[in-house]
């Protein structure tokens, strides 16, 4: 088939996989987290005395397209380094999984 002036082949279409990326950003261990401490104190007030420590962070879902898992991981690492996390104070990790259409 022809899209615009570009010929789209079956193999092109096959490379367009959709992915769900879940990104977790949290403060580095050396950085004091007063929000986490406030949440911990709240849990204690509710009687959950077994809670020893709470660290608060951010959770983001990205829906994106990419050729394969390693290509997606490389791109998302760039996104985390440039914007999603401030690596002066935060660390990040993410999970990548394919989404069936």
């Amino acid at each position: 088939m022809i899209e615009g002036n570009r010929i789209v082949t079956a193999t092109d279409a096959k490379t367009q996989q959709t992915w769900l990326v879940e990104v977790f950003v949290s403060l580095k261990p050396a950085v004091n987290d007063p929000q986490g401490l406030a949440i911990r104190d709240g849990l204690h007030m509710l009687g959950y005395d077994e809670v020893e420590d709470v660290r608060a962070g951010k959770y983001m879902q990205l829906h994106l397209t990419g050729a394969d898992q390693s290509a997606v991981e490389a791109r998302v690492t760039e996104m985390c380094e440039q914007l999603l996390a401030n690596t002066v104070i935060e660390s990040y990790r993410f999970d990548v999984r394919p989404v069936s259409e």
Binding site: L27, V31, N32, P34, Q35, L83, N86, V88, I89
Partner: protein
């Protein structure tokens, strides 16, 4: 000598009018608000990045503003030696963009702090503190929720060694006193500069202290320091 100031304004900035009034009424210098979509700063001698909540502080304060169209020109202006002052949210934008080291975090108390306090001048080597004396105490207002300056121990040593710590929270007589630190910032740091000393960021608001009528005029000593101070470096001509 005429010094032309720009006030870089992002969606969500709210201190731009204070900055405009401070330069106009406090310094009597020409000043213009520059919208974030602009890309040219050649007509200016000094830049102010005002306080507020650029892009709603989404993700992290300053994180999105850093990619605004005007920021390429701000970085160019800074790297050519032009004087840049980041106030409050402007300070956050400068750390996020890497023009200043370290980062700013949620206040230790988790409370928004709005009050007048004192800071001690730690170095006069920056273009913005050249008119002050080392140890000079300034009376300035603060208004922020994310002002806890953070730097890892190695960076902190580097800042100290390079004289990049510009202001510290202090008692009215200039003694270090962590009980007057409003946000839990490391080493009571209220403001820092880059290696060269032309880019300064601070949490207090000098532009809200330009006349005794509004509570004090110590801010003028910072804002006016760049008037005629070799600012032609900024235009590269």
């Amino acid at each position: 000598m005429t010094t032309r100031y720009a006030v870089i304004t992002f969606p969500g900035s709210n201190g731009e009018h204070d900055a405009l009034k401070a330069v106009e009424l406090g310094l009597g210098m020409p000043v213009e608000a520059v919208w974030y979509k602009e890309t040219d700063l050649d007509r200016f001698d000094a830049l102010l990045l005002p306080g507020g909540f650029s892009y709603g502080d989404y993700l992290r304060p300053g994180a999105i503003a850093r990619f605004a169209p005007i920021m390429a020109a701000v970085e160019e202006f800074a790297s050519s030696g032009g004087p840049v002052l980041g106030i409050c949210n402007g300070f956050q934008v400068l750390t996020e963009s890497g023009l200043l080291p370290g980062a700013l975090l949620r206040n230790q108390s988790l409370e928004f702090r709005c009050s007048w306090l004192h800071v001690r001048t730690e170095t006069t080597r920056t273009v913005w503190t050249a008119q002050l004396d080392e140890g000079e105490v300034l009376h300035l207002p603060i208004a922020h929720g994310d002002g806890r300056y953070f730097a890892e121990p190695e960076l902190l040593q580097e800042l100290e060694a390079n004289k990049q710590i510009v202001f510290r929270y202090s008692s009215p007589t200039g003694e270090r006193d962590s009980s007057v630190n409003p946000n839990g910032s490391v080493d009571d740091i209220a403001g820092i500069c880059n290696r060269v000393g032309n880019v300064v960021g601070l949490m207090p608001h000098p532009e809200r202290a330009y006349d005794e009528l509004i509570g004090g005029d110590d801010g003028v000593k910072i804002l006016s320091a760049v008037i005629g101070a070799g600012v032609s470096a900024a235009t590269g001509s």
